[in-house]
Every structure is written in structure tokens, then in C-alpha cells.
Symmetry: C2
Subunit: 266 residues, 2 copies
């Protein structure tokens, strides 16, 4: 197994570190490059083009707008902005959050390459949260009215977009269960395993990665305080299940992590 070595801490937040670490030498295109097409995108097996044929991908390509990259902290959109588009993460990562009346935000989701952002705005025609880049990132913007028109022409695309939305619904319900009945340790373990499989999906190491978000972001997402997240990390490390160093994390015992959340590890 080729677990790519993590670079020194001076580049922990380097915009490339999460995106191209273990890409093969045959793929030289910069992940932030705006001139890439859906057909040549390394994510086309996960993203919208899945299940489309060449002609169809070309049609999709026509409506996708590849905007300039976002810097860390830049907003993709803000709560109550008019809904116009959904977005596909091409590189980097994002967080969605809502601001509570008391001013403090609550994180509602994290988005990694190949994932779709903004579907919460479809019904009300306004985004129900704000979404911000966690590092140097690039996205594909897909104007929703055009996506609808194209979906109408391409049954495959309609089918797939229904599936993407259904997946989001199923995922949200899992989080509902997580938050309503799991302990701090179970939530944290589940979160790390979730990230692990999402990184694996984009051909990055499932056991060794950089957390793009702060402890505070994780806490808000999991309904815990920063202090608790930090304590759980320390305790998991003491138990030998993970190795943490700042944003660098290694899952050293996946099956023990799975055991925490009650998944049988035959």
C-alpha cells in the first residue's frame, strides 16, 4: 500500500496538499485549473458526469461555469442569498454553517472534492446557510435552471441528480441518529471514519490525512464543544486508535474505531 507521506508542517495548509498528493504521474493537470473539462476531470466518476456518455458529458460541460479559485475564508454564498446554482467541489474543501440568534455559528456540513453544495436552496429559492472555503479551493458552478433543462433532456442526468439528492437526505438522517443518540466519543469516531471513506473515494489515503477544519468547526458540527473534541482526540490517541498532530491525523486502528460506534469488525 502506498500511503503518501504527509508534508512538513510548514505546508499543512498548502492548497495542494489535500488534492494531489497521491495522484499518478500520468495526471498532471493542476486541480485548481479552470480550463479542465468534465470529460477530463479526475472526479468525473463521482461527480455529476457519472453515468453519462461522452455526448452527454459534453452537454453538461457547456453549462458548467468554472470560476476562479477561492481563497481560505472566501464565501461561496451567504445565508438568504438568492439560489441560482449548485456547486461541485473540484479541489479543496468547504463548510456550511448557519448563524444562530446568539451570534455563534453552527456548522451544518463539510464538503470535499466531488461533492455537491447548495441543494438546500432548491425549494425556497434562497440558500438556507452560508458556505465558506476552508482552504484554497476551486469549484464548478452549475446554474440550476440550466441543470433542470438539461435533466429534462437527459434522463440519465435526471436519474443521477435524484440519486445525489436522495443520498444527501439519507446522509442527513444518519447524522440525525448520530446526534440524537451517540456519545461524544462515538460521534468523533464516526466523524473520523466518515472523513476517511470520503478521502478514500477521491483516491487519497483513508488512514492519513489533514483536517481542513478547526476543532471548533468539528465541535459545532457534532454538537460538542472545542474542549470536548480536543479531549476526545487526546484520549483516542492515548488508546492508540489515532495519532494526532495539529491538523495532521492518522487512523492507526480502523477496526477499533469502528468498534466504538458498534460496527461489527469480522
Amino acid at each position: 500500500m502506498n500511503t503518501p507521506s504527509i508534508q512538513g508542517k510548514e505546508s499543512v495548509l498548502d492548497e495542494l496538499s489535500l488534492s494531489v498528493r497521491n495522484e499518478s504521474a500520468t495526471q498532471k493537470i493542476c486541480p485548481h485549473n479552470s480550463n479542465i473539462s468534465c470529460a477530463s476531470c479526475r472526479l468525473n466518476e463521482l461527480c455529476l458526469p457519472i453515468a453519462l456518455n461522452k455526448t452527454e458529458i459534453h452537454q453538461l460541460d457547456e453549462i458548467v461555469e468554472r470560476n476562479r479559485p477561492l481563497k481560505k475564508g472566501d464565501h461561496l454564498y451567504r445565508q438568504n442569498d438568492e439560489f441560482r446554482s449548485v456547486f461541485a467541489v473540484r479541489s479543496g474543501s468547504f463548510k456550511s454553517y448557519v448563524l444562530s440568534d446568539t451570534g455563534q455559528g453552527r456548522v451544518t456540513g463539510f464538503y470535499l472534492p466531488g461533492e455537491i453544495i447548495g441543494m438546500d436552496g432548491i425549494a425556497s429559492k434562497h440558500y438556507s446557510n452560508s458556505t465558506q472555503s476552508l482552504e484554497h479551493s476551486s469549484i464548478c458552478e452549475i446554474p440550476f435552471s440550466q441543470l433542470e433543462k438539461l435533466s429534462h433532456q437527459l434522463p440519465n442526468l435526471q436519474h443521477h441528480f435524484f440519486a445525489i439528492m436522495g443520498n444527501e437526505i439519507a446522509k442527513d438522517q444518519q447524522i440525525h441518529t448520530l446526534l440524537s443518540s451517540y456519545s461524544a466519543e462515538e460521534r468523533t469516531a464516526s466523524f473520523l471514519l466518515g472523513l476517511s471513506s470520503r478521502y478514500a473515494r477521491v483516491s487519497l489515503s483513508p488512514t492519513r490525512f489533514l483536517l481542513p477544519m478547526t476543532r471548533s468547526d468539528i465541535g459545532e458540527y457534532l454538537g460538542l464543544t472545542v474542549e470536548t473534541v480536543s479531549r476526545i482526540f487526546t484520549s483516542l490517541q492515548k488508546k492508540g486508535l489515532i495519532e494526532v498532530n495539529n491538523r495532521e491525523i492518522e487512523l492507526t486502528d480502523l477496526s477499533a474505531l469502528r468498534a466504538i460506534i458498534g460496527v461489527d469488525t469480522c
Copy 2:
């Protein structure tokens, strides 16, 4: 305001009590009647037919299967069953739940008339939870492959179904926020207000209704224990915000309830 009087306790769980209480005399069709069509359904302004014209509604009608009513406790489907259809609640109510490894269930959602059930199964082709009737209920079954075919023909239907799914996603994210940062009292108040507006949507009293679910169901849904839910109900009643009597509930001070969850009551 015409707040319909609630019937005696001997009919608290009567299958009609939630469905037809304040219907006008001009509408005599039994809500469990299987021979109703979408065109004549009293829910057609909320359910799938919304935004469809007469011809289109007729086409939808053709694919809808109106099954026999379900008794209290009957399952609509079970976790891991093959996904074939989504369902629209015509009368009664349902709960979705997943069984945790420890055997105890966690409720993931409640469904009232006019709401759509089963979208969590679209992506994986298997239902990710079990769904059970909470009282005598009736549903419309919509085979998903046919819904897709029809959506392809009717842009209005495609648009509307995207909106229904987007709404579900937005709703789930609100619950995420609720569970991750609200206290037991805030969750309970928010839950009651949510039910209130959903009943209002189907022209029932927003301040006086019957809870179709147990305290335990509510607890599982909100991430609280039965005891806590019971205590919060008692305490809200002592404060004069609600009046509870078994499954009967009256919201006597809506703005105070809204104030609990931090909504400005101008």
C-alpha cells in the same frame, strides 16, 4: 377563530380525529377512501400535484397506487427493503426509525398528511429506515421508476420533485442545528411549533391537536429520554405555554413558545 373541539378521550386515537375534524360540510369524502383521485384530493395543493395542470394531474393519477389503509403499527416498508416507491400520506401519520445495534430504535422522522415518505432510498435503492403507521392511515404509493418517467415528460413535475427533495434536505439541516446546539426545552418547543405549522398546512388547528406519537417517540426523535420529554411538557404547562392532557395538546402561548427558541415575536 374556529378551534374545533377535541373529542372525548375514548376517541383520542380514532383514525378520523386528526384528519377530518374541521373539514367543511362540502367535503364529504372519507380521507381513507381509496377511490379518490389526485384531482379531487383535498391535499392536492400541498402534495405532488401542486403546480400541475389538469391534464398533468390526470397523468400523475394514472401511476399512483392507492393501497388499502394501514392499521396502527403496520409497516410501510422496512430497513433494507428494496426501494421501489415513494409514498404520499393521505391520512393518518407515520414514523420512520432505525434500529441501533443495541436494539433500541431511534426515530428519524414523522410524516403527516400531504408529506412524502421514502426519499432516503432513492440513492442506494434500499430504504435506509423502517416506516410504520402511528394510527389508522392511508397512503398513495408512487412507483419511483414511473415517477421518473413522468417527470421526464412533465418539466413541472420534475421541477416540483426537485423542490420537494430540496425541502427535505433543508429541513434535515435545521434538525441538525436543533440537535447540535439546543437545550431540551428549546428542542421540545421547536418540535411543538413544527407540528403546529404542519397541522395548519392541512387546515387543522395550529394550537390544538392530538399527538399521534408517544413521548418515547418524541424523545428518540429529539435525542432526549422519555422522562425528559415528560418533564419538559409538565414544566411548559406550569409556565402556562401549553396545556397537555395525555395525547391532547393545546399551545396556549405561541409567542412565548417562539421566544424559547429565540424567534423574535414582534
